[in-house]
């Protein structure tokens, strides 16, 4: 069993080695980012995921130009049919308010994807800063920052999110801010662990012994060496943000009408589940699951790309 795994690792190493050897490996060293890119592009699933996400984002923003639909007026206003099955005019049917389902997926996607990416970005910036400061500077500051993090982490996240959104405000900006400003606790802990580990490694100690300043060590050693976790965690944060937004949508606290997001749409679709209106659930559910799965795949592939053991210098 063991040999099996070790074989795999060494064969992966060999594969990368031959991959880079077959390339333009002359006297000069192949830049790190090029090698990382190569490892990433080796992963077919990850490439498919990137393409899928790109096309989907494009579709959400440009789709309404090709398939223009009315997403503001409900059925009664114009005499549209609600819960109509797929037809030539409505490729994915209409929902319980008479909105065209395909147009609605584009429209809700704009909000779900934008919010997911923005909130994920805020999350990783704050998490990285907090984790780096706490892990690198250590001592009393670290202890206090970690206890505060423990406190945050022991409040189940969805309870906190629910309270904040219900009590304060349900605007789109506030949703982004709340998911971004409260989602970084897990990230901070992971990155702090990294910073703490790297700070105590030989090369950091050597740099200290040579008289490097703390800022220099953070910039040149700690940050570059924890970038793999930062990037991976960032991808997963985006997926998490999209999932949390959908949970809020289910509870009626997502993006408010007349705008919508995928969670809210899934909620209204699943409330019709006993009527057999499959077009209100399954196409969107498939898109949603594919989006989150792709983001997770990209995260996994990025982790491999940044895995130093797989890079041959």
């Amino acid at each position: 069993m063991t040999t099996n795994i070790e074989n795999r690792i060494s064969s992966e190493l060999a594969a990368t080695a031959t991959a880079s050897a077959s390339g333009d490996r002359g006297d000069h060293v192949i830049p790190m980012w090029k090698q990382r890119f190569r490892i990433f592009t080796h992963n077919k699933l990850a490439i498919a995921s990137v393409v899928f996400l790109f096309l989907l984002t494009l579709a959400c923003y440009l789709g309404p130009l090709i398939h223009p639909t009315n997403q503001t007026n409900q059925a009664l206003t114009f005499g549209y049919k609600w819960n109509a099955p797929p037809s030539l005019h409505h490729p994915l049917g209409t929902d319980s308010s008479g909105f065209d389902e395909l147009g609605r997926i584009f429209y809700g996607g704009e909000y779900s994807l934008t919010l997911g990416f923005l909130a994920g970005f805020i999350t990783i910036v704050i998490g990285t800063l907090y984790g780096m400061i706490s892990g690198f500077f250590g001592g009393l500051a670290d202890t206090m920052m970690m206890r505060l993090l423990d406190a945050f982490l022991s409040i189940p996240y969805i309870f906190l999110l629910l309270t904040l959104i219900a009590v304060f405000n349900r605007s789109t900006t506030f949703l982004i801010a709340v998911i971004g400003l409260t989602g970084w606790w897990g990230n901070a802990r992971i990155i702090r662990g990294d910073a703490l580990l790297i700070r105590n490694l030989e090369y950091s100690q050597a740099a200290t012994a040579m008289g490097a300043s703390k800022m220099h060590i953070v910039r040149r050693h700690v940050f570059p060496n924890s970038i793999s976790n930062i990037v991976t965690v960032a991808t997963f944060s985006v997926a998490d943000a999209i999932l949390f937004l959908s949970a809020l949508g289910f509870l009626g606290l997502g993006i408010q009408t007349p705008q919508t997001d995928w969670g809210t749409m899934l909620q209204s679709g699943t409330s019709q589940v006993q009527n057999g209106f499959w077009w209100e659930i399954y196409p969107l559910a498939a898109v949603f699951i594919l989006v989150v799965v792709s983001i997770n795949y990209i995260g996994d592939a990025l982790r491999d790309a940044f895995e130093v053991r797989l890079i041959e210098r």
Binding site: D150, P156, F168, N296
Partner: protein
């Protein structure tokens, strides 16, 4: 061991004080002050004088510091979580009514998760890159990517409408232990919550066992002529249990959060549904009380996980004392 538990307990108390501070502070800054909750209770036609009077009645016209200390005093020395002005009940009464139901739901699916996820993860690691492993990893990936309410709804669609015809909602006006006397209504909620946590834990278990299996001592065991089954269970599995205990402890907030969604879908009247109702009604004392309680449950779970680990692994006990 005694000092380790004491130190860990002390840490938990510090964290608990911080949680108190957070749960108190966040709703305090709500944008409309006392007006919004007052309107919720008195109706929108209430005049300014009535609103002010209502605020004074509920001690809302004092400063932040005074109110915080009153709140801490009330909780720590009188064991009183406050009074729900929306339901006109003490928060304790609301919690006492619903907490057993949530605990039974969470606990039964936690036990099922352990029973299912750990063997599943070990088997996946042992049969790495086989069809079985791919199938299990693939379904965990999809479950992980699915909004939890969607899974619950699909479960209802499949096992309540189309086959088996299980009840889509458990009975509400029954004793909390009805789960064991009349289990049929509870199958779907417990199964949904279990599936959600199995997806995460089995994937983690697989990773941990794989990580242990490349360690030198496992190779040594194999080299000595230890059978692969014995290596797996005696060496790899035992050493992978440590991280799993920690993860189970850390999974409690996720479990309770998942319970909130599961309760909302299946109309299982537990703490989760009460939180949703209280939050949308701006019933701040109830929300604060439930959040505090759930955080205490989480802290207790983490404490138990850490102490168990400390009992099993002496290195952990010593690490902190240096």
């Amino acid at each position: 061991m005694g000092t380790y538990i004491l130190r860990r307990l002390f840490q938990s108390v510090i964290v608990l004080i911080m949680v108190l501070l957070i749960t108190f502070t966040l709703p305090y800054f709500q944008p409309h002050g006392i007006v919004a909750p007052a309107y919720e209770v008195l109706g929108t036609h209430a005049n300014t004088r009535t609103v002010a009077l209502w605020g004074a009645q509920h001690g809302m016209n004092h400063s932040y510091i005074v109110r915080f200390f009153a709140y801490v005093n009330q909780i720590v020395f009188h064991f009183n979580l406050g009074h729900s002005y929306k339901q006109n009940l003490s928060v304790w009464a609301i919690i006492a009514l619903y907490v057993p139901r949530t605990i039974w739901l969470a606990l039964s699916s936690l036990i099922l998760t352990v029973v299912i996820a750990i063997p599943l993860g070990v088997m996946q690691a042992a049969r790495r890159n086989t069809a079985f492993d791919y199938a299990a990893t693939g379904s965990a990936f999809v479950l992980y990517a699915m909004p939890s309410f969607l899974l619950c709804m699909l479960m209802i669609d499949a096992f309540s409408f189309h086959s088996l015809h299980l009840p889509s909602s458990p009975p509400t006006q029954v004793a909390p232990w009805a789960m064991f006397t009349d289990p049929i209504g509870f199958i779907l909620p417990v199964a949904s919550l279990t599936m959600l946590s199995v997806a995460g834990i089995s994937r983690y278990m697989r990773g941990t066992v794989l990580e242990v299996m490349v360690q030198d001592y496992v190779r040594t065991a194999r080299a000595k002529g230890c059978s692969s089954r014995r290596t797996l269970f005696r060496h790899a599995f035992r050493n992978a249990l440590g991280p799993i205990v920690t993860i189970l402890g850390l999974s409690i907030p996720g479990l309770l959060g998942g319970a909130l969604i599961v309760e909302s879908v299946f109309n299982y009247s537990g703490l989760g549904i009460q939180t949703v109702i209280a939050a949308t009604d701006l019933d701040i004392p109830t929300v604060m009380g439930i959040t505090l309680l759930v955080s205490i449950l989480t802290l207790a779970g983490n404490l138990i996980a850490d102490v168990t680990l400390g009992l099993v692994n002496p290195r952990i006990r010593i690490e902190g004392t240096r």
